[in-house]
Every structure is written in C-alpha cells, then in structure tokens.
Symmetry: D4
Subunit: 200 residues, 8 copies
C-alpha cells in the first residue's frame, strides 16, 4: 500500500469502507461517485500503528517458508507456521527455520496466495475451492473483485483462512486496482470471525 | 527495429509495402528482386514521429501487466489494460498498477504475444485460433511468414486484436527475418479495421 | 528504525527523550538505569503516521540526486532539491530528474550525510565544520554520540541543515547504537529552529 | 530526452529556442512566462528523424571507448574515435575495438563528458578550461545553466569540441533541469561552427 | 547445521540420540521433556572432525552432477558418482566432470534429495517408493518426521540409499525443525547397514 | 575440451581413435589398457587450426537462435539457421537475427541438443527417435556411451543431423566422461556422410 | 583453511608448529625437509572443535562492522566491537548493528586487516607501525612471511592486537602460501599474551 | 585475438611480421599498402597449437594473483608467480593460492599490465620507467604504437619483463588497433632474449 497506484502516493476507497478508516483515524477526501482518496503513506503507517497498539505482533524481516500440520480426525489440519529470517531466505543460505504453533493461520500474502500453494503442493490435499486447488486470480474487474474478496474471506482448508487478494486467487475471482475498501472489509471480517472462535 | 539485422543498421522491405514508407517519408534504396533497404534509425524514428504527430499517445517507460475485462452477453470481453512503470516491474517492487479502459486492445508485443498469453492464462477462455490457445510461432520461412502476418491480423478474442509477429505467434505461422513489409501492411490493416469500427 | 537492533524488533530510548514518544503515543517499557525499550514497528509506524497527520509530505519512492543553489550576497546558498524516482536511479536509467524549491534543506540521510557530500563535491565550497568538509563519523561511543547529535544539529552551509546521524558525520562525532533518544531530540530541535524561521 | 522529466513524458523549452523545434516540425504548447512544453516522444523521434534525413550517420549499438590522436606542430591533436559494439563493452568481452578517423570530435556525452575525461586521463595534457582538467558540473541552477551551455560550446582541446551538458561539465557550470532550449541552441552553434570549418 | 535454528547458534536433540553425541564428545545441556541443546558450531565441527579421523574422505568444494550406472541382471544399478568442482558448476563453465566408482551411493543431500531426482529424471526407472518417483516431503510435523527419517533410511534403488531428510523427501514424510536426533540415528543406521555389506 | 577433466588439462582417448589425432598432428601418451592422454590445450587448438585450414568457416561470437525450414514433398525440412551475435542474445537485446541457408544442418551442441529441441518445440513434428522427441541422455556409462555416439550419428529429421553428445541426447544413450574417442569418430562419420552427399 | 591450496584439500606445516597440531589431535604426515601435510578438512574442523570445547564463543553468521572506543588518559582506546548479522550486511539492509564490550580486540581478519583499517579510517589516529597506518602486505616470500607473522603478533593500537596474516598486513611483511605453522604459532602467542593480561 | 576487430573475425598484419605467421603456418591475404589480413580463429588457434607443440605449458583456467619475490644484492627480485583457479577468484572464495618459482616472469597481460601493477602496489619499489610507476597507455596511434611495443619489450624490474601491450602500458606508449604485427615481433624478441639468458 505504501507506493499508492503507480508510485503516485494516493490510494482510493469506497463509501462502504469509510467507517473503518474513520475509526483508525486516517484522513480521506471525497472524489465523488462514492469514492474517496487517502495519502498512501498516512494510511499505511496509521493502520500498522493501530494494529500494533491493538495487540498485533508483527515479525519484521521474517518470512513464512512452510506450515506445521497435525492429523485431526484423520484429516490434516494446519497448526502453525515455519519461519525464517527473510535475508537468510533471500540469500539461499542453508540455515534451519523454526516452527511456531498457531490456532489459526490466515493467508494474507495477496496475489500469490503463497501459503495456500504450500498446502496444495506439499500435502496432497484439496482446498475448499471449486477445483480443490488454488484456482488463480482473473484479470482486473474492479467492482466484481471488490465484492468477491469480502464474500470469499474465510476458511479454505482446516486451520487455514484466506483474506484480501489471497481470497480472490484461491477461489478464482478478478483482481482490483489500487482501491482498498474490499481489503479493509475483508480484514475486518476475518478478524471478527477468528476472535469469535478464540472467544475474545 | 532500431538495431537492424544483427546490429547492422539496415532493414529490408518488399515491393508491396514501399507505398507506406514513401507516405511516411522514409528513404529507401532498391536492392533488386523487389527488395529495398532502409536505414534502421531513420525508419524507426520517422515512423514514431509520424505516429505521434498523427495523434498516437505513446506511454514511454510503461509496461502492460494485465488486462481489464467485463462480461458482455455472458462472454468475457477485454475492455482495457493494467499498466505500471516498467522500472517498478523490472525491480519487482510491490507497487500497485493502474487500469485504463479501451474500446479495443491490440497485441503488438511481437514474438511473445504477451497479452494473448495473459488472456489464456488468467481467463480460462479460448482464443479464435485452431487450438484455442496461443499456437506458437514456427521457425523462420520468410515468404510464408510475411503473408501469414497480414492474413492473420484481426480479432483473436472479444475486444482483443493481434498485429505483426504477435499474429504469427497467436495463430501459429512462421517467423520472418529483418524484413518489415509484412509488419507495415499488418499495422495498416489493423489501423483501418479499428478506425472503421470507431467511426473515425 | 523498522529492523530494531540486529533484526530483534526492539529499540532503546533514554530518560530525556521519553516525553517525545509519550506525546506521539508510542508505548515504552522501563529497563532500568534510565533506559526504556519500544517495539520498533510500533515506534516507526506511529512516528510516520503522526508526522503525516501534522502536515509533513513524505515523497515515497523518490530519491534526492542533487541540490538547487543560488548566489546570495556573493555566496552560494542551497535553495532546493533535485529529485527522481528511486527505481529510475537504481536501474541507472537516463531519465531527467526534476527540481523543487525549498526555503531550507535538512540533511537527515544518516550515516552517509549524502546531501552534505553533494555540496562539497559539486560546489567547491566549505561547510561550517572544522575541516570545511564532511569530517566523517567516528566509531561507536554511545553516550558521547547521543550528546553530539543534539549539540551539532543546525546549519552546516547557507540553506543546508543537518540533524540526526548526519550531524555526527558532518561534524565528526561518534556513532551510537540502536538508541534513539538523541535522534528524537535532534529532530525536535531542528523542527523548532526552522518553524521559528518560517514564522509558523 | 525520451523519458521527459521523472518519466512524465513532457519536456520544457524557452522562447529563444522555439524557432529550432518549429523548423524541425515538433509541436509545442505555450505554458506562460516564455516557456513551452513538448511531448518527449515526439520531440526526440522527430529530431533523430530530421538529423538522419539531413545526412547524420548514427551508429546505433556502438560505444566510444577511446580516441585517436596525432602530434601536429608538437601538440597532440584528437583525430578520431575508437569504437566497439556496446554489448561487447557491457559484457566486458576481450574483443578489439576499431578506430575511425574524424576531422573533428564533439563530446556530446552529457553529464559525464566521457571523451574529455579520456583525453585528460590518457594524454597527460591540459584542456582549455580554468583548471586544465574537466572542472565538473555544479548543482542545478536552471537559468545560469542554460546560458552557460551555449557560451561554452566550442573547442576544449585541439580537435575536440564540447556541446550540451558536456560543456557545463568540462568548463564547470551549473546543470539544468529537463529544459532543452540550451541544448538545442548549443547543438545549432556547434553545427554551424564545424560546417564552417569543413566549408560545407 | 552450522547456523542452528534461524541463526541462533543452538540446535536441539532428543533423549534417544544422546548416546551418539556423547560418543563423539559433543557437549549437551538438558532442557527438560527429554530434549537437549548443543552449540551448533561445536556439534558440527566435532562431527566432521571425528568422521575424518574415523576414515571418511570429504571432498570439499566438489559437487555431484550425475551418477554412474551399469546394467546388472537386466536392471540399471547405480555404480558411482559424476563430480565436478563446485565453483565450475556455479559459474556454468563448460568443463567436463569426472566419474568415480562406488560400491554404494548414499543420497544425504537433505531436502532436495538431488541424487534420487537425477536417477528418476535420467534413467526412466522406478524408485522403491509408493509412487516410484521422489514422493516429496510434507510440511513440518516434528515428532512424525523424526521417526519417519529413521524408518525410511535404506535402499531406494539398486545401489542407491537415502539417509536423513533425503529419506523423508524420497518416501514422502514430514520435515522436522532444527532437531537433529533423527538425523544422527539415520546416519548411524545407514553406516551400520553398509559397513555390514562391505564386511568391515 | 579446453578445460580437460575437472580443470586438470588432460583428456583421454581410446585405441580406435588414435589414427585421427595422429593425422591432425596432436601428441598423445599411452596410459595402458588401450587408453591415451592428450594435453587438452594442444588437442583443442590443433583441431580448430586444422579444421579452419581444411576450409571450415567458424563464426566466432555467433549463436544459433532458430532454424530455417521449407516444405518439401509435404514435409517440413530444415534448410538453414537463424543466427545472432551471442553478446546480443546474452543481454536479451531486441535486435533481429539473420537467416543463413544450408544444405544440411548438424546439431553438435552436445548435452543440450539445442537445435533438435528447437525443431520439436517449434515445428510440432517428430524426430527419427523412439519417442519422436529428444529422448534425453542417460547417466554416465563410459563404454556404452562411446559406442552409442558413433552408431547414432546421422539424420534425425529431414535436413538435420546429430553428432557427438547431441546424438546421445537425441536418441537417449548414456553420457561419457572426458574421453574423446567417440566424439572424434562421430565427427569423422558425419563429415564423410555429408561430403558424400555434397559430392565433394 | 577448509579449501587447502587451490582446492587440493591438503595444507602444509613446518617442524616448529607440529607440537600444536599434536596437542589438538590433528593427524599429519612428514613430507621431508621439516615439512608436514595435514588434511585441510580434518585440521580445520578439529581446531574449531577444540577451540569451542576450550571455551571460545564463535558467533556464526555475524560480521564486525565497526569498533567501540573510549578515551583513556586522553587517548582513544578500542573497547569492543560493533556487530551485525552477515546476511543483513551482505544485502545492504538498513538494520542497526549492536555493540559488545571487550577487554581486548584481536584483528585476525587475515589479508585485509579489516579492523585495523576501521581504526585508521574512522579515528584519525596512528597505529604502532612504521607509517602509523596499515602498511600493507608484500608479495609472497614464504620463509620471511612465516617469521614475520610471529614476531609482529601483538598490540597495534591501545586495546587492539593483530595476529596471523593481519599482522603482516598491518606491519608490512610478506604473505605466505598455504603453510600454516606461522598462523598457529601466532595464535598461540596472542592467546598466551592476553590470558596473562586477563590473569587466567 | 579470437574476436578479431569488433567481432568481424579478421585481424590485420604488416609486412615486417609476415615471416612469423608464415613460419607458424597461418594463411594471410594481401590487402595492399603492406597490410595483410588473417582469419582470427585460424591465427589464434594455430599460434596456440604451435606454442604448445614447441614446449609451452599453458595453464588453462588459472589466474595470477600475486608474485613471489626474494632479496638479491639488497634489491627485491621477482622470482615466481602466485596462482589460483580462475573460477575460485571470480567467485571471491577464500581458498589459498599456490606459489610457483620462475627464473623470469613476463607480463603479457596486455592493456592492464596487471603484474607490473602488483609489483608497484605491493613492493613499494620503482620500475625501470620514466615515472618509476606504470606510466599508463596513451590513446590510439597505430603506427607509433606498433613501434613502441617492440622497442619497449624487455626488463621492467629485476626478474620481470614486459611484452606486447603491457610494454606500452608500463612505459607509456600509444595503443594500437587490431593490427598484430607489433605483438608478434614483441613476442619473438622477448622469447629470444630469455632463451639466450636460459642458455637454450
């Protein structure tokens, strides 16, 4: 989000997600037709700042390289992440990663849907998608893509959830441009879904 | 075209395309057997100059990364391009592209036929070719290739057209050497076809 | 600041700068002996967020490549910056930069003091330092370095100011470790100095 | 010139150089205060096209790697260029270059003034500049830079001339932004100076 | 093993492999629950040192690029290795490798199981695995992975054996984290198996 | 051949190819069991020198990028090569190659059998091999590989021949080590076969 | 030391250092004239193993980027090291290093004498060498180099010592080939010198 | 020499060196004015072939990284070379080189005169040149350069000789184009000079 659209540090937003940025304290300017723009640097830094203050632990310079799994009721279930320092991964050094357990894993890696692909490539198992595999994102159709993201936010495999563009890639919906309403609504939906399950 | 054949800054032309370069004001020298040569720098710069003067907007340092689509009459139709700065793409930066709408999209990317491949890879749809996919160019056969380019210039998918070597790649014809008659005739054909549809 | 010390996402702070992070709303935890730690991600994102909300325009993906100057009273004075897209600079593309005028320029480029070096290399002029040149930072001596930064924050050339580690490099003081009190105090000092001159 | 200022494909021009682009057939739009803008793609392609039509031979994909010299009246005189394919140079291949003789050599390499630097580094001789060496360009001062370019266009060493930004670098003047009037006037001046000497 | 887990130079070990490191003279510290930690540098250097003293020839800076084979009783049998200098391979130089004969070949290349893959790709033959091919490792499940390694250590093709993570990859078991008990037990098992066959 | 086996500048030869190196004037030393060694630098330079003296034109710094073809009796026939400067190809520059006609094309590209692969990938046609495709080389078995090379030297597609390791790759035989008897005998066989067809 | 001389995994040793490798348990074979050879892998791994067992902490994947200093009696004294993860340094990431205090710092970086160079470049102070700077190593003269290393092992600046090839570089002595007697004797000398000062 | 002039595989020769290529058996074609051309591939391969047959040992894939020296009569004398595998050097691996003794060392490294530069940089000693240092080659002046090469072939430091372009660089003469007469005459001169001293 930092770079806005084509490095012009502006990003767009629709009516129905305005309440989220308002709550986070990000400024926005109406552009007509139900669209608003935000400064990409203000929006990104404020969202990160509010997330961390609200209790999110962000592991900077760390990269997910694999998942942990267990068999539950005879089916594989994702139970955590395998992580390593991103500079170690970038240089291809032979340094062992570490595992960390998690009640739920959310794939929010965007276009590539990297964690979903790890699961299908390494577990020989089917996702809850029409093909059982990562269907793949379609070309850009902003309106459809925005809706699709929110609708498809949810569980894609036991223990594994998708949100944002990873949902479009996993379930096969169109991509969007630098319009971030769907992203924010998707994030809110998954947060509420999982905090409900966690009982918090 | 700038580099001519193997960096020798000459390019060749046949009889039947001479009227195009004549109209554009590019010099040419007869070499016998219906062939002519042009200075590759003069030819390329003059064609660009005349195109821009005639109203073409050339987005320098910009790269097409995806397409826009809509469903029309239940079928997907290409309705524009997704673009980004080429330096951003080259460095693999995570900066969002922008979409631009278009009445028609012409794939003139040459040998790779990049836009046709985006459509078949991301839309799960068939092109108007014998395999439904990009057939792939054949090895070099100059005479056949020249003809093939012109004949196959046209619509390959609703909203998407091919011209020049992209036509040979999409429909599976032989490539040519640094002879540019077919290219020019293909360009003229697609220009006339689309300006007719646009009513200009 | 994002990466903390050696990628452990913690950064340190002394007593006398606590009031600044308190005002900005960054959490901190006492570690004894007048030292505190902050989460590096929370601290960095919150400072950026508050800066932009307070009116700072941050040009993301832009790099300073040169300065503007004028002669005033027979002496060269820095009057702005020459900027370009950082991906363009990284790839070494031959694309012209643009100039932007500024009442004051602050070199906050840290260890390299890049803008000071541009001035001495291209203007054949002396800085207000003991050698007239960028003296160069000394090895690490945390206490001395912290003090030095604040004391040496100020004008180093007509129109050009230094703050943070660039001050230590320009005037020849020791570097610090990942302790950010001096940085914050230096930033506050230069901000007050220049807003006074601007009459805001 | 292709990339305009910061990839925005526009370039600027002043009043006094308008007659040159008018003569070449490049479109321009007034922006007030004696400034005009041109499309960078149209301007660049048209200048190249007109140059080649007027008889200029442009060696595409070729790079100057050294100069030829002779002693005339006991003084070294530049008498040509040593050239090689640019891909060969870029890959650092050990392939011998070729020499080509020239009545005059014009260093139009812009900011680096590469040919002047070859002469001072390899001939142990003084240029006609205040230091005898390439003085080095100063930071950006658009008005002064524009004037400086035209005034300093001329002979910098027996047989070697400078034009455009190479003149500012060789004689030590300020750089300009993406304003091209001085460039065009400098090019016209050197062309008239040398065609006079050649008696054409 | 040198880098420990995520560059923290510690590695873990379970109860049942303690006797091996004890015999080799590596120090270990109990961490409860049947787990121990070792210094990764001490453990790795001591294992190498003891191996070489015990008669292992380690070809440093050498890389396996292919295998030797013979037909025995109508079936292909691996009979040695094709090796080259690793710097030669890394630079892609066209320098011929050399072959060396071996009674047995053990694939101990870890995650990639490189030698098994050479055999399936180049010999058009089936391994002793459920698919006949390299099944591929599963995501991380430490307990299961540790057991799987030891159980699956053994012959995978006539003349070719697997040990350590290569066994998990070849036969399709889960990976482990930086816990090295299974590795050591697998190594001990294969060593005893082959020294039995060699009659030593 | 220049680098010998693993950069030790020696290469091996068997009894039955000794007459070829003797005729070319390359020194050789017996090593017993019907094997000889040659200095790799002497052998390579002398073979090149004698080839050129005998009339071979070697296009240095040129790379084959495609083939020419024609239809003869309803079947595609290879009729020449498409070539470009290798530095142009290495840098991925968009410079057009040139075509050159040839009565016969011999694929002597060794392990990759590049020209055979171009034919199968771009012509949708079958080679004279058991799969119709490039079968792929097998691992190393020196004796079998040496024989296989000579036996399989010949026509693999109308107009296209294979010799040396390209024959093993195309027809699916084992590779050899740095023993060059088979190579030389294969070269002699193809030379005699084609000079017979050319009537020289 | 791992790679031996030119990747031949052997290293040499003289008479007078044999007692050190004997004590460490490294095998050696006499080669006459007072020289011995060792397997480079056995020698290196055993030395590391014995060092760690004897109490040395080796920080793997860590790189020294600067030093700590204090003023003592009006003179700068080296009082520790500034370290960072080597992958962070290799990628040029902007991540802050950490400082660690030390009673003594020994520059054992070999040919480059990196720590000595940091001191002279950043402290504007003189080393205890004939020029006050790092004198620079001379070409190879094995006998003289071996002696020089041992004689010049010692303090080169308050708090900073040199050992091994760094001593030859700092004080300007000849380099040696892959003969490691001088290295071992230098290491023993510095260890005894500093353990004396530490009173251990 | 392989690449000829600008990849056109032809190289030139003057009258007075024709007897050398005649003796070696290289073909040449008169071009008038006392100049001849040779095929660059034939010339290079034949010279190498004849050199090796005459007893020259060419160490392929080996690079000189330093020299050996001794003091004789109180003056340093070059007494051999320090060599390493070139792939090791190219990758910057920390692998020790080996030394080899030599009665004489000839710097034939061409334009860079690498060995002379090693001597002046590492021995703090003067060459037999007008500056005591490597003077540096001048730009191209073919006739003067050809003469200069032959005249300046000889001893440049005790034990170290220069031949070919290294002589022009060491003593400060002009470079030549792809004309190889001077090279051959320089090689013949140094060979006769040193075989005289060796008494062979």
């Amino acid at each position: 989000m930092w770079g806005g659209g084509m490095m012009f540090n502006e990003i767009a937003l629709q009516d129905d997600a305005v309440h989220i940025v308002k709550e986070l304290g990000v400024s926005y300017r109406p552009k007509g037709d139900g669209y608003y723009t935000m400064d990409s640097v203000e929006a990104t830094s404020t969202i990160i700042s509010q997330c961390v203050k609200a209790g999110t632990a962000i592991f900077n310079l760390v990269r997910v390289t694999d998942v942990l799994f267990r068999e539950e009721e005879g089916r594989p279930t994702i139970s955590g992440l395998v992580i390593n320092w991103s500079p170690v991964e970038k240089l291809g050094l032979h340094v062992d990663p570490l595992g960390m357990q998690a009640r739920f894993v959310v794939d929010g890696t965007g276009h590539p849907a990297e964690i979903c692909r790890i699961v299908t490539r390494k577990l020989d198992a089917r996702l809850n998608t029409k093909t059982g595999d990562v269907v793949g994102e379609m070309p850009l159709w902003a309106d459809k893509g925005e809706e699709f993201t929110v609708v498809n936010t949810g569980e894609v495999f036991p223990g594994l959830y998708v949100a944002g563009m990873a949902a479009n890639n996993a379930f096969g919906g169109p991509r969007m441009g630098p319009i971030f309403g769907g992203m924010l609504l998707s994030g809110k939906k998954i947060a509420e879904m999982l905090s409900g399950k966690l009982g918090v």
